[in-house]
């Protein structure tokens, strides 16, 4: 199909993933035809507004969808069909695909010590003896910049600050030796100053350990800064995939350009921010036979509301816009 479709050597390959969830008796779409590839060691950003389906994508990859979710399409990790994994194979897969969550405090059992939490998977899954597991945990804490690891391991989650706890989560995620990291807005719940620190640690460790990463955020600039490629989602669909450095200078989809234009620029004086008119659509509201972004798009034409555009290869990336080729070059100019 597209440029990405040719990549057979991808570590993770998602094909035509469509997910529906039961809401009040009806199945509602949350993801539509999501296809993406992540090669070993590569960082891919997944950007979108709330409800665009970026977290759902990560949850589908880690088989964490709510009960009743119907999944179509295929997710392959290292050649294995993820949907078919059960029991020990599924647990093994999950040690290979680690997840870092947005709110570290909610994702740790509050009544267990940090050490119990960090070493649980090592001990129960990989059969590492408790003393050895603790030693590894303490040294991993050192890597995320927590010096007195042995003491921290004996503490409870409530004794640690949010940033500290997120570092613990990152260390725990790296302990089982994963190949892919799913980071679901790992810094959104943190202070701005802590955000930068945690982000730097995450990026550094990822490169040091040679991990692939799917980095989910609503911050286009952050994704562009630390990811090789960035994928933009809107209403449960991928609308653009692009090398990160080209995302601002040469966007391929009006939505990406509008997102870029809607952020404040510290170097320029502007009386108003350019907001995108209208409101973001949820995936289930998206029309079956029209471009989901058309109602808010400055470049929409009658043809845009007649069919869902394909995610077509263009200029080394992919764009789900009928007019992508015409608009190329104008998009960025219109917003600077």
């Amino acid at each position: 199909m597209s440029a990405a479709g040719a990549e057979r050597d991808a570590l993770l390959s998602v094909r035509d993933l469509t997910v529906t969830l039961p809401v009040e008796g009806a199945q509602r779409a949350v993801l539509r035809d999501v296809s993406l590839d992540i090669r070993a060691g590569e960082a891919v950003g997944l950007v979108g507004e709330s409800g665009s389906g970026k977290s759902m994508t990560a949850r589908a990859i880690d088989r964490l969808l709510p009960k009743g979710a119907q999944v179509e399409g295929e997710i392959r990790f290292d050649g294995a069909d993820v949907a078919r994994l059960t029991g020990a194979a599924l647990r093994g897969y999950r040690t290979k695909v680690a997840m870092i969550f947005q709110d570290p405090r909610a994702h740790v059992n509050p009544v267990r010590r940090i050490g119990d939490f960090m070493t649980e998977s090592l001990r129960t899954n990989l059969g590492v003896p408790a003393a050895e597991a603790s030693k590894r945990a303490a040294s991993m804490l050192g890597e995320v910049g927590i010096a007195d690891g042995d003491r921290r391991l004996r503490q409870y989650p409530h004794e640690l600050s949010g940033g500290m706890l997120q570092r613990v989560m990152i260390a725990a995620a790296l302990l089982t030796g994963p190949a892919l990291l799913l980071a679901d807005e790992p810094t959104t719940a943190l202070d701005v100053t802590t955000q930068a620190e945690v982000m730097a640690i995450l990026d550094e460790l990822r490169q040091a350990h040679g991990l692939a990463m799917l980095f989910i955020t609503h911050d286009l600039d952050l994704a562009a800064a630390i990811c090789d490629r960035t994928i933009v989602m809107y209403a449960g669909q991928i609308v653009e995939e692009r090398r990160s450095e080209l995302l601002h200078s040469d966007p391929l989809h009006p939505y990406t350009a509008a997102l870029g234009g809607a952020r404040p620029d510290i170097a320029q004086k502007a009386s108003r921010l350019r907001a995108i008119p209208g409101r973001p659509l949820s995936a289930f509201e998206a029309p079956a036979a029209a471009c989901a972004f058309a109602p808010r798009c400055a470049y929409a034409q009658p043809a845009c509301t007649e069919s869902v555009p394909d995610l077509a290869a263009l200029g080394g990336g992919r764009s789900r816009c009928l007019r992508a080729a015409d608009l190329r070059g104008q998009l960025e100019a219109a917003h600077v």
Partner: protein
């Protein structure tokens, strides 16, 4: 202080880990208020008597002396004599054991079964949950006493049959309440985080979900103990539980019942007061613990 205690570790109360244990039990009791603490004392006394009762009984509880039948308190016999002229105080002390151990067996049985069903159905959800819930609905239809009478008819009268039957009859109440708690625990993000770490479902249930439900489990068990005690006493009263002449509070009420009509109510009343006192203590403490458990999970 008292507001922060609740469940020792789940709240962020005491900072240093090494003090958590002490603040734990004592702090929890303090949080249940005066009623809870008095109840705890009553229960503690009953437990101690159940253990050492037979040894501290001043007289042989099984030695009849018909010439002393229905004689009131005299000399060293504080509560007088029963219908066969046995020392009532000694029989109360010796009977504490069988009166307490029966409910204990019922509670342990019902809690283990109920927790298992609750956690499994909350974890698996879907079909398993539906089947388990329907099964519980059916069990709800049978009153405990009825099942116990049935068990006595089939397996013969005695404490074991009655306790097993009551454990099964109480299990749905436990399972229903704990299933809700287990579902809530299951829905918390940390279980998902453990799952994606590759921890198995069994390990998450046993090491995380059940321990986090413990406050509720303890509260349920405490309330259940009171019910079980009343029901077992009733069954013994009917002659289907503990068999006379073995000392037991339920049996004592039954065999001394004629005394109430003849103007010698003390032997039956004394046993009745023991049962009522312990049951009320368990109920109060159980409800207070339940409130605490609910307050913690907001």
């Amino acid at each position: 202080m008292s507001a922060a205690v609740g469940v020792p570790a789940a709240t962020a109360a005491p900072a240093a880990g090494r003090r958590a244990g002490r603040t734990g039990v004592l702090g929890l009791l303090r949080a249940t208020g005066a009623g809870g603490m008095i109840s705890a004392v009553v229960i503690a006394v009953a437990i101690v008597l159940a253990i050492i009762g037979p040894w501290i009984a001043p007289y042989n509880p099984d030695l009849p002396n018909l010439s002393l039948a229905w004689v009131g308190p005299v000399g060293g016999h504080l509560l007088g004599f029963d219908f066969e002229g046995r020392d009532v105080l000694s029989r109360l002390l010796a009977g504490a054991q069988s009166s307490m151990i029966g409910p204990l067996a019922v509670v342990v049985g019902a809690m283990v079964l109920g927790t298992l069903i609750a956690v499994v159905s909350a974890w698996r959800q879907g079909f398993t949950d539906t089947v388990a819930s329907s099964g519980l609905d059916i069990l709800f239809a049978f009153p405990g006493i009825l099942l116990a009478v049935l068990a006595a008819a089939v397996f013969g009268a005695g404490l074991t049959a009655a306790a097993v039957a009551l454990a099964i009859a109480y299990m749905p109440y436990v399972a229903r309440v704990l299933r809700g708690a287990a579902l809530r625990e299951r829905g918390r993000p940390y279980t998902a985080a453990l799952e994606v770490q590759g921890v198995s479902g069994t390990a998450i249930c046993l090491r995380h979900i059940v321990p986090n439900m413990l406050p509720l489990i303890v509260a349920q068990a405490t309330i259940l103990f009171g019910w079980a005690m009343v029901d077992l006493a009733a069954i013994s009263f009917l002659g289907l539980g503990v068999q006379p002449p073995a000392p037991n509070w339920g049996v004592m009420i039954s065999e001394n019942q004629p005394g109430i009509l003849q103007g010698y109510p003390l032997p039956a009343l004394a046993a009745g007061v023991c049962i009522v006192g312990v049951v009320i203590a368990f109920n109060i403490l159980g409800e207070r613990l339940f409130e605490q458990a609910q307050a913690v999970r907001r």
